[in-house]
């Protein structure tokens, strides 16, 4: 109890908790769950964008997209590393993902159907991710906070790149502009759902807030995202697919229409358009690569015993 009190005092004083510091088991568990979930999202998130690398419409875009997906893999790697500081191995986390026990952001269960979806993902999905993640740069757990600083920097770059794809399409010919609007239509609502259920229905928030893992509520972050994004859509000349959307002069915020939480529940429950496909691909990749990992291990063993023999 004294330890717990001391811990909370450090949190309240905005001190960083480091791997070797004492921490409550629940704090550790919450962080492991959140960080690994975040890492899984980066890894699964490679798939929808990866779907367009071979069909990107220009070499510049092709290179940028490949680099972006590579960055996501990198994010996954340092997030797994951050979680490992809490005493859980990457293999274990990956296993939980493959077994369907761990979650990842449900936005990646939507398909990328046109090139404009690549723009929309950068602009909206990365935009929403940044809203969620910027507060995490001040998260009480040191390794996570530091990983997030790096992630956020790269994500902002991706977000600008995505917006620029949208801008190019919107300044392009009729077919391109239509493609952009269509992508916004399909991605807008799922992006709003990325912030999680409305505060009234949300779990975890209380302790997470007290421990300064979470600093804003779902609804607060969602509102920030909408306020930032609607003017961007207008600048692009696109229509946000929400007939109830209006600017509230009194609050200074954009008020939005009702979110279809049933859709969200279904996607989280595994029934999104691509859940099965994403998991199948990830599992197949693990299976197909098993012989390579075996070979690498076998070679490393041989090398070790050769070095021993030589010593």
């Amino acid at each position: 109890a004294a330890l717990l009190q001391r811990f909370q005092e450090r949190i309240d004083a905005e001190e960083r908790i480091e791997p070797n510091d004492w921490m409550p088991e629940a704090y550790r568990r919450t962080l492991v769950r959140q960080i690994s979930q975040h890492a899984h999202s980066e890894i699964i998130g490679m798939q929808p964008e990866g779907n367009w690398i071979t069909r990107a419409p220009s070499l510049r875009r092709k290179a940028a997209l490949l680099a972006k997906v590579q960055d996501e893999c990198g994010h996954g790697l340092y997030l797994y590393a951050a979680a490992e500081t809490l005493g859980v191995a990457r293999e274990e986390m990956v296993e939980q993902l493959l077994a369907g026990k761990a979650k990842y952001s449900s936005i990646f269960n939507y398909p990328t159907l046109t090139w404009a979806d690549i723009g929309a993902i950068g602009w909206l999905v990365d935009g929403a991710a940044i809203m969620n993640q910027i507060p995490l740069c001040r998260c009480s757990y040191g390794p996570y906070a530091r990983a997030m600083i790096r992630v956020c920097k790269e994500e902002s770059f991706h977000q600008r790149q995505g917006y620029e794809i949208m801008l190019t399409l919107c300044r392009g010919n009729g077919a391109q502009k239509e493609m952009a609007q269509d992508a916004l239509n399909r991605w807008w609502w799922p992006c709003l759902m990325m912030f999680g259920p409305p505060d009234a229905a949300s779990q975890h928030t209380d302790t997470s807030t007290r421990w300064k893992i979470k600093r804003f509520t779902n609804d607060e972050l969602r509102q920030k995202f909408i306020d930032a994004t609607v003017p961007q859509a207008h600048f692009l000349g696109l229509t946000v697919p929400d007939p109830d959307l209006r600017f509230d002069e009194a609050t200074g915020h954009w008020a939005h229409g009702a979110i279809d939480w049933e859709e969200f529940r279904q996607v989280v429950a595994g029934n999104g358009p691509c859940n099965a496909q994403r998991m199948e691909r990830r599992r197949r990749t693990e299976e197909d690569g098993a012989w390579v990992r075996d070979a690498a291990r076998a070679f490393a063993e041989k090398e070790k015993s050769r070095h021993r023999a030589a010593a």
Partner: protein
Amino acid sequence: MTSIRLAETPLLTYVLRRADDALVLGHRLSEWCGKAPLMEEEMALANMGLDLIGQARALYTYAGEVEAKGHDEDALAYLRDERAYRNLLLVEQPNGDFALTMVRQLLYAAFADPYWRAMMASRDATLAAIAAKAEKETAYHLRHSAEWVVRLGDGTAESHARIVRALEKLWPFTGELFETDDVEREMIAAGIAVDPAALRDTWRGTVSAVLARATLTMPEDGWMQSGGRGGRHSEHLGHLLAELQSMQRTIPGATW
């Protein structure tokens, strides 16, 4: 017709050949995205792919300048038909398993690395500059693929068997690396290009050293396939291009 026509001069053809090599191999590597056996390898494959696509972009841009008909890198990459592509057959071979991809990378990089190094002395300043950058990148590709070939060759029985199969399958495509024709000879004579035949011993030395460490034996030099430089490809390239070019063929002339 969404395709463009080029009046190929020796220099243009020469540059396009190298650009096509880089693009096609870079594209093949990019096909691995999300399918690599390790996350670290996901990063490495993307790195190599990015290097090659970068080389392709520089080379296509230069080809566009050489042609001087207003064709940019994208026109040259996306609007030429299969028969106008000039890449080596080696680089268009499908990824197969990870062993095949790594052997393909080794066989290409063991040639491209000394080639670009020698090309740094080209009388063509643009090519010399491209070569300087490409050489550094290719040195890494060579190192990385060599490490994997060694690891897989000297790993498990299965990985060894796979590497042997990959080597057997790709070996007939290595002869083309050293071919010269009138185009190449003209460029060599002008001091613009390097004679690839002169690099054969270096290449053999590099490859045989890696194979020895990998507990593999160097395949015999049998019949060698040829045709890529003249646009006579395998059946694989057409499918690659159908995918690569689909957007530009559907909405040609747009800005992306």
